[in-house]
């Protein structure tokens, strides 16, 4: 015991470094076991847990990324320690609580061994040069965007949509650009005059090829104005007339009915 204590005092100064130096909790555990000549098949779990906990205490606030993994292992160690105290039923099938941990440690140790050898192979390979080494083209990084779509994005996408002008090929047809702003203005002005207006009225005189574009832009303008809370829309039933309503200061009682 005395030896362990002194060993540990000596290491206390480098507790902060430990977390940086070790790949993870298994690495740290292995280090504690191997540097103290502990029989891995008979780990003194109480001592090791104590040492592990002390080391984990050294984790600084800047290393919280790693802290979770070390704390998790600390919890496992404490649990194993507790299980060791419980009387076992002498059943052959009753596994030593340390068994899985030992298995993992051995496996990890082997991986470390392989890693070292692969590192040597890598060094050896790096000493030979091919005729021009082309770095791998990096993949397009997976976007870390949030999985949600905002109204602005919908509008932006909608505004980018171009209608195919199939029949007009070869002609110089100038499609009149339909600006949503125009539709916004039209709706707002209409709603200033009327408390409500049928959606179709806003399109009524449009039976030309561009009508669809006007319809789309009018709908988009309506949605945009709804979003801005300048107006709201109501529809009594599917496919029935869509009504655009002026939105007054306190539209409370109607709001609950708004379904559009």
């Amino acid at each position: 015991m005395g030896r362990e204590t002194s060993l540990f005092t000596a290491r206390e100064g480098m507790l902060d470094i430990d977390i940086e130096r070790f790949q993870g909790p298994l690495d740290l555990l292995l280090h504690l076991i191997r540097t103290q000549d502990i029989d891995i098949f008979d780990i003194p779990i109480a001592t090791i847990t104590e040492q592990f906990l002390q080391t984990v205490k050294g984790i600084g606030p800047g290393q919280l990324d790693h802290a979770g993994e070390f704390l998790e292992m600390a919890a496992s160690l404490v649990r194993i320690k507790a299980q060791m105290l419980l009387p076992r039923h002498g059943d052959e099938e009753d596994e030593d609580p340390r068994a899985e941990l030992v298995r993992r440690l051995l496996e990890y140790e082997q991986i470390r061994e392989i890693t070292d050898r692969m590192s040597v192979a890598e060094t050896e390979r790096a000493r030979r040069f091919s005729k021009g080494w082309v770095p791998p083209r990096p993949r397009a990084p997976l976007a870390e965007a949030e999985l949600e779509t905002t109204w602005d994005e919908v509008l932006e996408a909608a505004l980018r949509v171009e209608l195919p002008v199939t029949s007009d090929r070869g002609h110089r047809v100038t499609l009149r650009a339909v600006a949503m702003q125009d539709k916004v203005k039209l709706i707002l002005e209409t709603l200033q005059a009327h408390e409500r207006i049928e959606f179709s009225k806003l399109l009524r005189e449009l039976d030309r090829p561009e009508a669809r574009m006007h319809g789309v832009m009018t709908l988009l303008a309506s949605l945009e104005l709804t979003r801005r809370r300048s107006m709201y829309m109501r529809q009594v039933a599917h496919f029935s007339e869509l009504w655009l309503y002026r939105r007054d200061e306190e539209p409370d009682e109607i709001e609950s009915e708004v379904s559009a």
Binding site: Q83, I114, T115
Partner: protein
């Protein structure tokens, strides 16, 4: 023009290892056997004439590489690209994937004892590993395997060149331990948790599985 010369020209012009059957496509007069004969001939010729380069079997193909002893001279030149080295965690993760492929990220994390999604992703970005399939079970996790670029990076002719477990001091268990017991005291990774990586990675995986999954063997 003999077969050796044609093979030599192709090897000279290529910046990646070529398989014998790939080289054979260069001319009707060539087939895989003839190419292999030519390769052996070239190999001997380079050895005998003490060329600064040699013909090396890498990643199941053949490539002209300078001999290792010339490294100090070559390293002085900025114009000669040097492959970048892998970090410790990257090597460790790669070792696990190489020995256990196909393997899911969760299993890698269990063996390493630390979260590994970042490392796995950067290994994938570097083309050293790729998705080779999907596992059974919840979330059908992506399974990774090593690529031919992995073999190239370490100068392995094939996966058989990896250090053999029986040569190592301790014995590696054959099967990954996941799912073995219900109340695993040491498990700290929730295998039911589908990460954002996996959600976003689904398309990539589909591409990899339906299309040419690449060089993973």
């Amino acid at each position: 023009m003999n077969a050796s010369q044609i093979v030599e020209a192709i090897l000279f012009a290529s910046d990646a290892p070529l398989k014998a059957d790939e080289i054979a496509r260069a001319d009707e007069s060539l087939d895989e056997d003839r190419v292999e004969l030519a390769l052996a001939e070239l190999q001997r010729a380079y050895d005998e004439s003490e060329r600064a380069f040699e013909l090396v079997e890498v990643a199941e193909g053949w490539q002209l590489l300078t001999r290792a002893e010339f490294a100090p001279y070559l390293e002085r030149f900025d114009t000669i690209p040097r492959p970048s080295r892998l970090s410790g965690p990257a090597l460790e993760t790669l070792a696990i994937i190489a020995y256990r492929q196909p393997i899911g990220r969760v299993e890698v994390e269990y063996i390493r004892g630390v979260g590994s999604s970042g490392v796995v992703r950067s290994l994938q970005d570097r083309g050293l590993i790729d998705v080779v399939g999907r596992g059974e079970g919840l979330g059908r996790p992506l399974l990774y395997g090593t690529t031919s670029r992995f073999l190239e990076h370490f100068g392995f002719a094939s996966l058989d060149d990896l250090p053999r477990p029986e040569d190592l001091p301790v014995v590696l268990r054959d099967n990954p331990p996941l799912g073995e017991s219900d109340d695993d005291a040491t498990a700290f990774v929730d295998p039911n948790q589908l990460s954002l990586d996996e959600v976003l990675g689904v398309q990539e995986a589909r591409k990899a599985v339906t299309g040419d999954a690449g060089s993973a063997s």
